[in-house]
Symmetry: C2
Subunit: 118 residues, 2 copies
DNA sequence: TCACTGGATAGAAGGATGTCAAATTAGAGG
DNA sequence: CCTCTAATTTGACATCCTTCTATCCAGTGA
Protein backbone atom coordinates (compact mmCIF):
# COMPACT_ATOMS: atom_id res chain seq x y z
CA UNK A 1 0.00 0.00 0.00
CA UNK A 2 2.80 2.39 0.76
CA UNK A 3 4.46 2.08 -2.60
CA UNK A 4 6.09 5.27 -3.73
CA UNK A 5 7.09 6.28 -7.20
CA UNK A 6 8.37 9.72 -6.39
CA UNK A 7 8.34 11.13 -9.88
CA UNK A 8 9.55 14.38 -8.42
CA UNK A 9 12.92 12.96 -7.45
CA UNK A 10 14.82 13.58 -10.72
CA UNK A 11 13.28 17.03 -10.99
CA UNK A 12 15.50 19.05 -8.84
CA UNK A 13 17.09 22.36 -8.94
CA UNK A 14 17.02 24.62 -11.93
CA UNK A 15 14.34 27.33 -11.88
CA UNK A 16 11.91 27.75 -14.76
CA UNK A 17 13.59 31.02 -15.56
CA UNK A 18 16.86 29.17 -15.90
CA UNK A 19 18.27 26.75 -18.44
CA UNK A 20 16.09 24.77 -20.81
CA UNK A 21 14.19 21.90 -19.25
CA UNK A 22 14.71 18.55 -21.02
CA UNK A 23 11.49 17.04 -22.32
CA UNK A 24 11.61 14.05 -19.97
CA UNK A 25 12.16 16.23 -16.92
CA UNK A 26 9.25 18.40 -18.01
CA UNK A 27 7.12 15.27 -18.18
CA UNK A 28 8.11 14.27 -14.64
CA UNK A 29 7.48 17.76 -13.34
CA UNK A 30 4.10 17.83 -15.03
CA UNK A 31 3.09 14.77 -13.03
CA UNK A 32 3.81 16.65 -9.80
CA UNK A 33 1.75 19.63 -10.93
CA UNK A 34 -0.99 17.30 -12.08
CA UNK A 35 -1.14 16.10 -8.49
CA UNK A 36 -1.53 19.69 -7.35
CA UNK A 37 -4.06 20.55 -10.03
CA UNK A 38 -7.11 19.66 -7.99
CA UNK A 39 -8.78 21.75 -5.28
CA UNK A 40 -9.36 18.74 -3.05
CA UNK A 41 -5.74 17.63 -3.23
CA UNK A 42 -4.51 21.16 -2.62
CA UNK A 43 -6.63 21.38 0.50
CA UNK A 44 -5.50 17.92 1.58
CA UNK A 45 -1.86 18.89 1.23
CA UNK A 46 -2.60 22.15 3.00
CA UNK A 47 -4.33 20.28 5.83
CA UNK A 48 -1.49 17.82 6.20
CA UNK A 49 1.28 20.39 5.96
CA UNK A 50 -0.33 22.76 8.40
CA UNK A 51 -1.06 20.24 11.14
CA UNK A 52 0.73 20.84 14.39
CA UNK A 53 3.19 17.96 14.68
CA UNK A 54 3.41 17.50 10.93
CA UNK A 55 1.17 14.45 10.87
CA UNK A 56 -2.48 14.08 9.98
CA UNK A 57 -4.63 10.99 10.44
CA UNK A 58 -6.72 10.01 7.45
CA UNK A 59 -9.67 9.84 9.79
CA UNK A 60 -9.35 13.61 10.23
CA UNK A 61 -9.01 14.27 6.50
CA UNK A 62 -12.36 12.92 5.41
CA UNK A 63 -14.51 15.23 7.50
CA UNK A 64 -13.69 18.60 5.87
CA UNK A 65 -14.87 17.35 2.47
CA UNK A 66 -18.21 16.40 1.06
CA UNK A 67 -16.67 13.32 -0.49
CA UNK A 68 -16.65 9.61 0.20
CA UNK A 69 -13.72 7.91 1.92
CA UNK A 70 -12.58 6.09 -1.25
CA UNK A 71 -12.32 9.41 -3.07
CA UNK A 72 -10.16 10.92 -0.33
CA UNK A 73 -8.08 7.76 -0.37
CA UNK A 74 -7.63 8.13 -4.11
CA UNK A 75 -6.48 11.74 -3.80
CA UNK A 76 -4.03 10.83 -1.06
CA UNK A 77 -2.61 8.17 -3.34
CA UNK A 78 -2.08 10.69 -6.11
CA UNK A 79 -0.26 13.04 -3.74
CA UNK A 80 1.80 10.10 -2.48
CA UNK A 81 2.80 8.94 -5.95
CA UNK A 82 3.84 12.48 -6.77
CA UNK A 83 6.28 12.40 -3.87
CA UNK A 84 4.52 15.21 -2.05
CA UNK A 85 3.38 13.25 1.01
CA UNK A 86 4.13 9.96 2.67
CA UNK A 87 1.94 7.73 4.76
CA UNK A 88 2.56 5.38 7.63
CA UNK A 89 0.25 2.93 9.29
CA UNK A 90 0.34 2.80 13.08
CA UNK A 91 -2.12 0.34 14.45
CA UNK A 92 -5.58 0.99 13.15
CA UNK A 93 -4.89 4.41 11.70
CA UNK A 94 -2.79 5.75 8.85
CA UNK A 95 -0.93 9.02 9.24
CA UNK A 96 0.28 11.25 6.45
CA UNK A 97 2.90 13.97 6.46
CA UNK A 98 4.22 16.35 3.84
CA UNK A 99 7.68 15.81 2.40
CA UNK A 100 9.51 19.11 3.00
CA UNK A 101 12.13 18.49 0.32
CA UNK A 102 9.41 18.23 -2.31
CA UNK A 103 7.90 21.56 -1.31
CA UNK A 104 11.31 23.25 -1.17
CA UNK A 105 12.14 21.91 -4.60
CA UNK A 106 8.97 23.40 -6.03
CA UNK A 107 9.64 26.69 -4.31
CA UNK A 108 13.02 26.90 -5.99
CA UNK A 109 11.48 26.10 -9.34
CA UNK A 110 9.70 29.45 -9.39
CA UNK A 111 12.63 31.47 -8.14
CA UNK A 112 13.61 34.41 -10.28
CA UNK A 113 17.19 35.19 -11.30
CA UNK A 114 16.97 38.97 -10.77
CA UNK A 115 14.20 39.91 -8.36
CA UNK A 116 15.58 43.44 -8.53
CA UNK A 117 13.44 44.01 -11.59
CA UNK A 118 10.04 43.47 -10.05
CA UNK B 1 -7.56 37.89 -28.20
CA UNK B 2 -5.57 39.18 -25.30
CA UNK B 3 -8.28 38.67 -22.72
CA UNK B 4 -6.94 37.79 -19.35
CA UNK B 5 -8.75 36.13 -16.53
CA UNK B 6 -5.85 35.90 -14.11
CA UNK B 7 -7.33 33.34 -11.78
CA UNK B 8 -4.11 33.52 -9.81
CA UNK B 9 -4.72 37.06 -8.65
CA UNK B 10 -6.72 36.36 -5.48
CA UNK B 11 -4.34 33.57 -4.55
CA UNK B 12 -1.61 35.40 -2.89
CA UNK B 13 0.51 34.96 0.07
CA UNK B 14 0.04 32.24 2.60
CA UNK B 15 2.20 29.14 2.13
CA UNK B 16 0.67 25.66 1.96
CA UNK B 17 2.28 24.91 5.30
CA UNK B 18 0.47 27.89 6.76
CA UNK B 19 -3.14 28.60 7.62
CA UNK B 20 -6.03 26.68 6.11
CA UNK B 21 -6.82 27.51 2.50
CA UNK B 22 -10.47 28.44 1.86
CA UNK B 23 -12.19 26.16 -0.62
CA UNK B 24 -12.66 28.86 -3.23
CA UNK B 25 -9.01 29.91 -3.07
CA UNK B 26 -8.01 26.29 -3.44
CA UNK B 27 -10.15 26.12 -6.56
CA UNK B 28 -8.45 29.19 -8.03
CA UNK B 29 -5.03 27.86 -7.19
CA UNK B 30 -5.89 24.52 -8.75
CA UNK B 31 -6.54 26.29 -12.05
CA UNK B 32 -3.01 27.67 -12.01
CA UNK B 33 -1.54 24.26 -11.32
CA UNK B 34 -3.76 22.75 -13.98
CA UNK B 35 -2.08 25.13 -16.38
CA UNK B 36 1.30 23.86 -15.24
CA UNK B 37 0.25 20.22 -15.31
CA UNK B 38 1.30 19.58 -18.88
CA UNK B 39 4.82 18.91 -20.18
CA UNK B 40 4.32 21.09 -23.24
CA UNK B 41 3.09 24.05 -21.22
CA UNK B 42 5.92 23.65 -18.72
CA UNK B 43 8.45 23.73 -21.53
CA UNK B 44 6.68 26.69 -23.11
CA UNK B 45 6.81 28.64 -19.87
CA UNK B 46 10.42 27.59 -19.44
CA UNK B 47 11.24 28.73 -22.97
CA UNK B 48 9.53 32.07 -22.50
CA UNK B 49 10.94 32.73 -19.03
CA UNK B 50 14.48 31.83 -20.02
CA UNK B 51 14.67 33.92 -23.17
CA UNK B 52 17.24 36.67 -23.10
CA UNK B 53 15.21 39.88 -23.07
CA UNK B 54 12.22 38.23 -21.43
CA UNK B 55 10.21 37.99 -24.64
CA UNK B 56 9.62 35.10 -26.97
CA UNK B 57 7.93 35.21 -30.36
CA UNK B 58 5.30 32.54 -30.95
CA UNK B 59 7.06 31.79 -34.20
CA UNK B 60 10.01 30.56 -32.13
CA UNK B 61 7.85 28.49 -29.80
CA UNK B 62 6.39 26.16 -32.41
CA UNK B 63 9.67 24.71 -33.63
CA UNK B 64 10.83 22.88 -30.47
CA UNK B 65 7.65 20.79 -30.41
CA UNK B 66 6.26 18.10 -32.61
CA UNK B 67 2.86 19.78 -32.50
CA UNK B 68 0.74 21.87 -34.80
CA UNK B 69 0.48 25.64 -34.44
CA UNK B 70 -3.11 25.54 -33.16
CA UNK B 71 -2.06 23.22 -30.35
CA UNK B 72 0.76 25.54 -29.27
CA UNK B 73 -1.66 28.44 -29.49
CA UNK B 74 -4.08 26.56 -27.26
CA UNK B 75 -1.40 25.90 -24.64
CA UNK B 76 -0.33 29.53 -24.67
CA UNK B 77 -3.92 30.53 -24.08
CA UNK B 78 -4.14 28.24 -21.07
CA UNK B 79 -0.96 29.74 -19.60
CA UNK B 80 -2.31 33.21 -20.33
CA UNK B 81 -5.66 32.58 -18.67
CA UNK B 82 -3.83 31.25 -15.63
CA UNK B 83 -2.04 34.58 -15.31
CA UNK B 84 1.38 33.05 -15.87
CA UNK B 85 2.24 34.77 -19.14
CA UNK B 86 1.02 37.70 -21.17
CA UNK B 87 1.11 38.30 -24.89
CA UNK B 88 1.43 41.35 -27.07
CA UNK B 89 1.08 41.69 -30.81
CA UNK B 90 3.64 43.83 -32.60
CA UNK B 91 3.06 43.90 -36.31
CA UNK B 92 2.88 40.44 -37.74
CA UNK B 93 4.21 38.64 -34.71
CA UNK B 94 2.97 38.00 -31.18
CA UNK B 95 5.40 38.07 -28.29
CA UNK B 96 4.92 36.42 -24.92
CA UNK B 97 6.63 37.05 -21.62
CA UNK B 98 6.36 35.49 -18.18
CA UNK B 99 4.67 37.41 -15.39
CA UNK B 100 7.27 37.51 -12.59
CA UNK B 101 4.74 38.21 -9.84
CA UNK B 102 2.91 34.99 -10.68
CA UNK B 103 6.10 32.94 -10.39
CA UNK B 104 7.10 34.64 -7.15
CA UNK B 105 3.66 33.99 -5.71
CA UNK B 106 3.98 30.30 -6.48
CA UNK B 107 7.46 30.20 -5.01
CA UNK B 108 6.14 31.59 -1.74
CA UNK B 109 3.36 29.04 -1.71
CA UNK B 110 5.84 26.24 -1.11
CA UNK B 111 7.89 28.07 1.47
CA UNK B 112 8.39 26.24 4.75
CA UNK B 113 7.86 27.86 8.14
CA UNK B 114 10.74 26.18 9.98
CA UNK B 115 13.44 24.95 7.62
CA UNK B 116 15.51 24.29 10.73
CA UNK B 117 14.03 20.80 10.92
CA UNK B 118 15.22 19.51 7.58
C1' DT C 1 -11.72 -17.37 15.69
C1' DC C 2 -15.12 -13.97 14.66
C1' DA C 3 -16.97 -9.51 14.25
C1' DC C 4 -15.99 -4.57 13.83
C1' DT C 5 -13.65 -0.51 12.06
C1' DG C 6 -10.21 2.26 9.27
C1' DG C 7 -8.52 2.47 4.96
C1' DA C 8 -7.42 0.89 0.17
C1' DT C 9 -8.72 -1.23 -4.31
C1' DA C 10 -11.71 -2.35 -8.48
C1' DG C 11 -14.81 -1.09 -11.85
C1' DA C 12 -18.01 2.08 -14.03
C1' DA C 13 -20.22 6.58 -15.42
C1' DG C 14 -19.76 11.31 -16.58
C1' DG C 15 -17.19 15.29 -17.49
C1' DA C 16 -12.83 17.55 -18.66
C1' DT C 17 -8.52 17.75 -21.61
C1' DG C 18 -4.94 17.40 -25.57
C1' DT C 19 -4.63 17.07 -30.27
C1' DC C 20 -5.68 17.74 -35.00
C1' DA C 21 -7.76 19.59 -39.55
C1' DA C 22 -10.34 23.28 -41.31
C1' DA C 23 -11.79 27.85 -41.16
C1' DT C 24 -10.99 32.70 -39.39
C1' DT C 25 -8.69 37.09 -38.11
C1' DA C 26 -4.81 40.49 -38.36
C1' DG C 27 -1.16 42.72 -40.48
C1' DA C 28 2.44 43.34 -44.42
C1' DG C 29 3.26 44.21 -49.03
C1' DG C 30 2.59 44.19 -53.72
C1' DC D 1 -7.91 45.13 -53.53
C1' DC D 2 -5.58 40.87 -53.44
C1' DT D 3 -2.41 37.63 -51.58
C1' DC D 4 0.64 35.78 -48.39
C1' DT D 5 1.99 34.66 -43.69
C1' DA D 6 1.45 34.60 -38.45
C1' DA D 7 -1.59 33.33 -35.07
C1' DT D 8 -6.05 32.17 -33.17
C1' DT D 9 -10.63 30.01 -33.14
C1' DT D 10 -13.84 26.26 -34.02
C1' DG D 11 -15.40 21.62 -33.99
C1' DA D 12 -14.49 16.82 -33.50
C1' DC D 13 -12.43 12.74 -31.44
C1' DA D 14 -9.77 9.97 -28.30
C1' DT D 15 -8.01 9.87 -23.85
C1' DC D 16 -7.67 10.82 -19.13
C1' DC D 17 -9.74 12.20 -14.39
C1' DT D 18 -12.95 12.67 -10.67
C1' DT D 19 -16.34 10.49 -8.29
C1' DC D 20 -19.26 6.98 -6.96
C1' DT D 21 -20.72 2.01 -5.23
C1' DA D 22 -19.23 -2.36 -4.03
C1' DT D 23 -15.66 -5.09 -2.41
C1' DC D 24 -11.43 -6.27 -0.16
C1' DC D 25 -7.45 -5.99 3.22
C1' DA D 26 -5.36 -4.97 7.91
C1' DG D 27 -5.61 -4.48 12.87
C1' DT D 28 -8.15 -4.54 17.25
C1' DG D 29 -10.51 -6.74 20.68
C1' DA D 30 -14.02 -9.79 22.57
Amino acid sequence: MMEIEDVSAPVCCAPLSGPLLPADEAADLAKVFKALADPVRLRLLNLIASVEGGEACVCDLTGPFDLTAPTISHHLKVLRQAGLIEGERRGTWVYYRAIPEALTRLSGLFALPTPAGL
